[in-house]
Subunit: 386 residues, 2 copies
């Protein structure tokens, strides 16, 4: 049921709206004028503001306000320009802390479920995700909330990730190509392309904007070894912040050099700086940037801070590897593991090398912008929201 | 000339190196052990660390250090593992403030030349950039330093930007496609696709990671109107920080909602939050995220902070538009303007609409990671550095 307005009045630089349920909202006049929805001020086909900031009077006040049948308020401005606002549109944009939190949650779906070794790995058949919007919605919702979902039953040949990319929109191209083949290679340009153990890491922290989501499609699996390990980095960060706030502070404030030089999709020489743990204004981890293989020998901190940094990193690394936190599983041919590369660190146990390729994964990346955009579109369709 | 070592000694948790020029460097033992270059610890083909952090002793001390002919030092560790380090490699990684600053400057080329209405727009022929490494190096160097370079004499047909993308590596795909056509369109899904004036903006601040570099290729130009305007956003930020630190503080700390919903390369519903001015730890602007058209009506700040925010934004907008700061020019068919989309804000004057398309630009994006990678590779080739 859409909200109804009982009363509206101009109060200096604000317009006050009294709702039928007795609550009230106050809207700054400058914000109302800035967000006039008339065709002169707003280009409906683009959903974008036309009125330039140059034309906005920061000190504007409404000359007249009026209520039309409880569902709409109209404002007349000193220059005679008239604006209309739907009650429902206004209610959602109320400036109260509660209303703002609700709106932001609606836009960014921040809910998280943390996990440790007790993870019940969420599984959905690949074909369902490809053909059912409900399943695709469930997939992306869970990916956002839990950070990892296993899609099962894909074909055991290259190309399935390209299809999955089309399902969400498009994949993220990097120097390793649109998709990339994880297998033992001669003169490997990346430690992943060997049979060696891979410690817990996030992919590609050398980039300014590391890939948000990673897909790994198992095409062939070795009999011995090659198990996958994952850990919830945000959960471990919460633990570390409590147990060792100093170490957490070091890892969330020290910029670490990364480097990646080689040839693949094209030649590349990438250098970057990232904190191991990126935090938001409340100190909550929002992105882990940790790959010990590409951490540069170049290190831009004073010599006396080096040992404390390593101690903090080791503390984090130990927590990641604790039996309580990590989850071990083995991909089967046809499995596609999809996970949040900003949150979930992944690793692999070593496996025997030989003349034949005994293990083959195809990998690809997607940006959270693309994934969340698809999630919002699916959500609207599935929940039939407007 | 490569540096020579006069003396090396173990000092507890450090190794002290005395250079032939009389200067000295101190290297933490844990850092030395972590960066052992032997084939067990380091995968040369990938230029990446093999030794897992699990195997690193944070409190390690060298058991023995030795000097080999002044060009190399060797360290023996308590477990008999032996590491060797080239003098030149060590010297570059010295932990002194000066050496670190030099190394970081070498990796990230932070030098900037600020400009205002006095800009001498740098110009290089498109064909030279395509065929000469020296010209391509000059192009990207100037793009990094000045923030804008005009490439001239490209063909007046679509496709030149795809070639330019191959020249650097690859372009950045977005919801608007691999490249996009800026011209007057019916039911425009973006304000750029009209004949209207475009105020100063950066492109795509709704994305987590807005495109670092933008290319606009003029294929057809209108006789009347359609002039381009650019302004050095970092220069304006420096001014604003001095003149009105409070406004600067507001714009560099307030997260603003952006929104972009529509259909183009595929359907999209993107929501994001960005500060108008992103700053580094020293308060220096590192990215402007400002597009008034896609700034959302949703605004996640308390009502009483709304008017001060608009006042600060208006102050910034006024500075951008001051005659002293902005530079106006008109693209000619065959011109490709290339600019730093994190630094340079661009705009366009309106032009008459009509039944025919009288103005047509093709646009594309690239990430700074890709551009800087190409710049480093060209630099190495041109300067014949190692």
């Amino acid at each position: 049921m859409s909200p109804a307005v009982r009363k509206v009045e101009a109060l200096g630089h604000f317009v006050r709206v009294e709702w039928e349920d007795g609550s009230e909202s106050r809207y700054p006049c400058v914000w109302l004028r800035d967000n006039c929805r008339c065709p002169l001020c707003f280009l409906r086909s683009a959903g974008a503001r036309r009125m330039p900031l140059e034309d906005l009077d920061v000190d504007i006040a409404a000359r007249e306000v009026a209520l039309a049948d409880g569902k709409k308020i109209s404002v007349t401005w000193p220059d005679e320009h008239a604006s209309e606002y739907e009650a429902e549109w206004l209610k959602k944009r109320c400036f109260s802390e509660e209303a703002r939190a609700e709106m932001q949650a609606d836009l960014f779906l921040p809910e998280r479920q943390y996990w440790g070794s007790d993870l019940q790995l969420p599984k959905i058949p690949f074909e369902e995700v490809m053909h059912s919007d409900e399943s695709a919605y469930k997939w992306l919702c869970t990916l956002k909330k839990v950070g990892i979902v296993l899609l099962t039953g894909a074909a055991t040949r290259q190309g399935e990730l390209i299809k999955l990319g089309h399902r969400i929109g498009f994949l993220r191209l990097t120097f390793y190509g649109p998709t990339w083949q994880v297998q033992d290679k001669a003169d490997a340009n990346n430690v992943a392309y060997t049979t060696g153990k891979l410690s817990f890491h996030t992919d590609y922290p050398v980039l300014h904007h590391p890939p948000g989501v990673q897909f790994l499609h198992c095409i062939k699996q070795t009999t011995a070894g090659g198990e996958s390990e994952v850990v919830d980095g945000f959960h471990v960060c919460n633990k570390m912040k409590q147990q060792n706030p100093e170490a957490y502070q070091i890892l969330s404030s020290t910029a670490v050099n990364y480097t990646d030089v080689g040839v693949d999709y094209c030649d590349f020489a990438v250098h970057g700086k990232q904190r191991i743990i990126d935090i938001d204004s409340r100190g909550q981890a929002v992105r882990i940037n940790y790959n010990n293989a590409t951490r540069d020998a170049v290190f831009d901190i004073p010599a006396e801070k080096v040992r404390p940094f390593y101690a903090a990193l080791k503390e984090f690394n130990d927590l990641l590897n604790s039996a309580e936190h990590k989850f071990t599983y083995k991909l089967e041919p046809g499995d596609i593991v999809t996970f949040d590369n900003w949150r979930v660190l992944h690793g692999r146990r070593s496996y025997p090398s030989g003349p034949e390729v005994t293990r083959h994964l195809e990998g690809a990346y997607a940006d959270w912008d693309v994934v969340l955009s698809r999630l919002q579109i699916l959500r609207k369709g599935v929940l039939n929201r407007d």
